[in-house]
């Protein structure tokens, strides 16, 4: 599973199941082999491979980001069964490719997506919370100065302070991975690229391979935080990065403003960072 959301108002756990095209909702204290209380799945849902979800308990909605649909699908929080989404943000204007993180800000009324691709659009994209259809983002945080170049995943929002936390696995672009892109053995273009890489001796099938380019800077990942009002090629306002963090990069992030903690999930570890200064005031 690449995503998870917790609804603290209704005490529920929301889980995207990419391999089954479903979103499951459990009771917040669920344990062991227990049935979900609601399942969103079926032909009307538009779900194919939902990578990540978020819940908006204020407006009573569940937001699912689906990389195969290349869309964000918004469901009623109590949706169950084969139900159509209330809204769907998708289309060429959105620039969506592989959506790996999603957040909802009910205070500033935005939906936020971590969207990535090899050689294509990358970054944090913001849409009006009520957006529907093929619409352009209202803001886009992306570019060399952001560090959000292609190797990133989860988003989490501190709604009260309007800060978006992004888990970045590495400060570098995502290599084209034809192995993943190909409907393997039938996408001739991707197969040709794979063979070309093999001939060059430049295996890109693991895009966490070490970077050896001369002149390459520090490619360590980080947790970065931007304001929901940020736009363009801007660096993070807050950051957790460096050898003392004991993590080379992060795929997941969660925040606990009350206790001043940020949690970083990296490879096979979960770190707790005590950073009360991150939660002192709005930017």
């Amino acid at each position: 599973m690449h995503g998870l959301a917790f609804d603290a108002v209704h005490d529920e756990l929301i889980v995207p199941v990419a391999l089954s095209g479903a979103v499951l909702v459990f009771k917040g204290d669920a344990r062991g082999d227990t049935l979900p209380i609601r399942i969103i799945q079926g032909s009307q849902t538009g779900l194919i491979r939902p990578q990540t979800v978020e819940v908006d308990p204020v407006n009573g909605e569940i937001v699912a980001a689906d990389s195969s649909s290349r869309a964000i699908l918004v469901f009623d929080r109590l949706a169950n069964g084969d139900v159509a989404p209330k809204r769907k943000i998708g289309g060429l204007k959105t620039d969506f490719r592989d959506i790996v993180g999603v957040a909802v800000d009910p205070i500033h009324n935005v939906i936020i997506a971590a969207n990535r691709s090899a050689g294509g659009p990358n970054g944090v994209y913001m849409f009006d919370r009520m957006a529907n259809g093929d619409v352009a983002p209202i803001r886009h945080i992306g570019g060399m100065n952001t560090g959000v170049l292609g190797r990133f995943r989860q988003l989490k929002l501190d709604a009260e302070r309007g800060m978006i936390y992004v888990a970045v696995q590495a400060f570098r672009h995502q290599m084209a991975t034809p192995q993943k892109e190909a409907d393997l053995y039938t996408n001739e273009k991707a197969l040709a690229e794979l063979r070309a890489q093999e001939t060059r001796g430049d295996r890109a099938d693991r895009d966490d391979d070490p970077v050896d380019a001369e002149g390459a800077g520090d490619t360590a990942g980080f947790i970065g935080a931007w304001s929901v009002t940020d736009d363009g090629d801007v660096p993070p306002r807050m950051i957790i990065r460096g050898p003392a963090t004991r993590a080379g990069g992060f795929a997941g992030v969660a925040v606990n403003p009350k206790n001043g903690e940020v949690y970083g999930v990296g490879t096979n570890a979960v770190m707790t960072y005590l950073v009360p200064n991150f939660f002192l005031k709005k930017p």
Binding site: G3, L4, F6, D11, G147, G217, G252, V265, T272
Partner: protein, 446 residues
């Protein structure tokens, strides 16, 4: 403060500092080779003196290759000096707590009774462990492997299935998330470069080598298929045959067993299915009507090994009586005409007749509190020594039984990759988290 963390859906994670034996591998040796999150005293399995010398030599060779510019990446990668600039809050912040397991976690396994070795893949530390087939016992201490493949040259990440070739003395292991299939010599140790590599579909999991027919079967989860290659295939090659498509009813396949002598291939399925859509930018984003995803009960599906394409199974083991729940690795005991299944969901080994079909109860079940089977992920048969091996993901052990064991049997030997009582975090390759402020718990999906 965070009270505790919970891994969904399996295990309780605990803080890992301070209570374990500490080895003497220095950070200077280990840090360049693995993504380390440990303190300076690395809690890894202690190497032998010979391993340390080899390790140092291979590290020097790797560094030399790096300097020679063996791999060229995009220029401009990495943050420029001074990034992200002054006035940015935070920085190089040490963690106040870390949930991690410094010990290996067994994943795939293969047994070679003829050459007397057992090979385990380790998804947690991205390594391979090679044990003598007689290893283990009743000790509470870590069992010393006679080889460990680990380092930047080995191309091992989130490794899964393992297969062995007793004739060529080679072992094969597949990466499950990024990377392909790598082949090593039985004598590989330390930072060993693979003998050869094979590109396989993303999320490949199970391997089964039919030595007599020189064929290798590979199951791939997201791809929903079984690919059959030549045993010496390398690079980017099309498989000789592919079993894949709607009629196959392959649903998140994991363990696989290839038996060309009977013209059969078996695949264990978790029951998850959704469309495989290309990520390629040149494919249409909205191809119109689609077939929605589904959840199905776990199953074992059997196909003609010689088949190719979208073919239905010739037999299916599925239903309540089967007890199948998250079947992981499988193994065939052809002499006894039995199929063994590492049944993760019930922490047991289910043994079916190979000809089983439908909602059939297993012929026998190895499970119970005395067995030491905890979240089994792989099973293997040593036909020469009449033993069954079981690798646990749920704790730091593998256990060995008599080949005819049944019920709540006590294992003959226990192989430990950590001291007895060492917990596991219950997760590998975690990519997200959520905080529950009601219970002050951190949830981490596996």
């Amino acid at each position: 403060m965070l009270k505790r963390a919970i891994v969904v859906p399996l295990a309780l994670a605990t803080l890992m500092w301070g209570a374990r034996e500490q080895s003497t591998i220095s950070a200077a040796v280990s840090l360049p080779l693995i993504e380390s999150t440990e303190p300076d005293d690395i809690c890894l399995m202690p190497p032998s003196r010979e391993q340390t010398a080899e390790y140092q030599a291979s590290l020097a060779a790797y560094t030399s290759r790096q300097r020679a510019g063996a791999v060229t990446r995009q220029a401009g990668e990495g943050s420029p000096p001074g990034w992200p600039g002054k006035g940015v809050i935070g920085g190089n912040v040490p963690p106040t707590a870390a949930i991690l397991d410094p010990w290996p976690t067994f994943d795939g396994m293969a047994v070679d009774g003829d050459n007397g070795i057992v090979v385990m893949s380790d998804e947690n530390r991205h390594s391979l462990l090679i044990y003598d087939r007689a290893a283990g016992g009743d000790s509470t201490k870590t069992t010393e492997p006679h080889g460990r493949v680990l380092g930047p040259s080995v191309r091992l990440g989130f490794v899964a299935g393992v297969a062995v070739n007793p004739k060529r003395r080679e072992l094969m292991v597949t990466n499950n998330d990024g990377g392909g299939l790598e082949v090593f010599s039985y004598d590989a140790n330390g930072d060993s470069k693979p003998l050869r590599s094979l590109t396989v579909p993303h999320q490949s999991w199970g391997l089964s080598l039919d030595v007599d027919h020189d064929e290798l079967a590979v199951t791939s989860q997201q791809y929903q298929g079984i690919s059959i290659y030549g045993s010496m295939d390398t690079g980017v090659v099309r498989p000789k045959r592919t079993i894949r498509g709607m009629q196959t009813l392959l649903e998140d396949p994991h363990g696989v067993f290839l038996d060309n002598a009977r013209d059969e291939v078996f695949a264990a399925n978790h029951g998850n299915w959704t469309e495989m859509r290309s990520y390629a930018g040149d494919q249409p984003a909205f191809p119109g009507q689609y077939i929605p995803g589904r959840f199905q009960p776990s199953s074992i599906r059997v196909y003609k090994a010689s088949s190719n394409g979208d073919v239905p199974p010739i037999r299916t083991i599925q239903g309540k009586r089967t007890q199948l729940a998250w079947p992981m690795g499988i193994a065939g005991d052809t002499a006894r005409s039995e199929l063994l299944v590492a049944n993760y969901g019930s922490s047991s080994i289910l043994v079916f007749p190979m000809a089983a079909n439908g909602d059939a109860a297993p012929a026998r079940v190895i499970g119970g509190p005395h067995t030491g089977i905890v979240g089994p992920i792989a099973v293997g048969v040593d036909a020469k020594h009449n033993e069954i091996w079981v690798a646990n993901y749920g704790d730091h052990t593998a256990v060995v039984f008599d080949r005819a064991a049944s019920g709540d049997a006590t294992p003959k030997r226990i192989i430990r990759n950590a001291p007895a009582g060492t917990p596991t975090t219950g997760f590998t390759n975690a990519a997200s988290a959520a905080y529950d402020p009601i219970r002050q718990e951190l949830l981490v999906p596996n």
